[in-house]
Symmetry: C2
């Protein structure tokens, strides 16, 4: 958590968020702050509520995990403000955070030292064809590939399809890191390879990082060299 | 800066870094800490020195800007440790940070709400053909595109070539955000479009973010919608 995020949470009169993320900041919250938590699929309701409270003159903090601007709440909030004709009229600050990609990379060592892509495998709002095409192009470009939302209880096929697409372009022994609960309680990680990684435990708290052609793993570390002569 | 990064700087006996980044943390440093700063191209020397100090039993902090694992020092440090046969034997912790991409995105609003790529235009260690190909594939995949090291005093052509490549695939009015000194003293930003953005001031402290087909700009904000019905 950044100093600025800490400060913003502390100064807020109202804190609104998905319940899992509200739980993560419980120890920062004081009795005179109003806390509103709600479940999944209530994203737009939360933003409407945040706007209502802000219009009533309150200092509102909308909480999101990782970085609120990377598959988080920042964009939805701004769209709701715009939809109400208020963008530029009420003050909205996006506080950047440490993304799941960066937290997971730090756990693995340094896999993101060269050009990389971030792709979410959730096909709730994005057609699967678009996702599959992006995975293929990322492999063709020899990008390091970071996968968000790789698998959930109800969505298990996508990660297998990604593996198949990548095996058309990349060697079987390409290092693959899986980090679950990166930099949080219960953190675990494993370094596998493109052939075998889908047999490891992967869930909705996991980030999967697939190396480029230069990435190597060694002593529980995953490293993408930049090309310096070490 | 994250709480953990702050703590690590405070606890270190030796702090080593590129002089520009050492300057950014001057106010955190105390008299009984040894500070070693050096110039550009001294990356490997800095890592060797850090290793030496660590082997002598000191708590060493190697400082890097943004996230040390994204085009930063984490990978080089791990390679130097490995080169000396010490990986797994001395403790190396990578502390994740807020990348320039995330800081710049927060300044612009929420341009990274969907799949994105991060590409460095520095062709010092990477052949230009590789970089150009990646830009082209990123455009084909309709990724949001983040450009690091877009331009420096001696390297001005690359950003123009990128513009030409992108104009083959994307409309002229695609929003382009340029943020210089994101979340630092002297921060400036401008939102332009693919046709015109290279006429804006871009330097080595700038990050350039090019929207996908859904990205729009409005009232000094750049937003990539996720697809929620707002």
């Amino acid at each position: 958590m950044s100093h600025r995020a800490y400060q913003v949470v502390k100064e807020a009169e109202v804190i609104i968020g998905y319940k899992t993320y509200i739980k993560l900041i419980t120890q920062l919250v004081s009795d005179n702050q109003e806390i509103i938590s709600s479940g999944m699929t209530k994203e737009i309701d939360r933003c409407n509520l945040a706007l209502q409270k802000a219009l009533a003159g309150q200092n509102v903090c909308l909480v999101s995990s990782g970085d609120p601007g990377v598959y988080g709440m920042a964009g939805i909030m701004l769209e709701v403000v715009k939809g109400n004709g208020l963008l530029g009229q009420i003050e909205v600050e996006t506080v950047p955070g440490i993304t799941a990609a960066n937290a997971a990379a730090a756990v693995l060592g340094a896999p993101l030292m060269h050009d990389y892509v971030v792709i979410s495998l959730s096909d709730l709002l994005t057609p699967w064809e678009t996702i599959a095409k992006r995975v293929e192009l990322a492999a063709q470009g020899d990008f390091v590939i970071v996968l968000y939302n790789p698998k959930s209880k109800g969505r298990v096929k996508q990660i297998e399809l990604v593996r198949e697409i990548l095996l058309q372009e990349k060697p079987e022994n390409t290092p693959v890191g899986i980090v679950t609960n990166a930099k949080r309680e219960g953190e675990t990680f494993v370094i596998s390879d493109l052939k075998n990684f889908t047999s490891e435990e992967i869930n909705m708290f996991s980030v999967v990082i697939i190396g480029n052609s230069q990435t190597f793993s060694f002593e529980n570390h995953m490293i993408t060299p930049r090309g310096y002569k070490v």
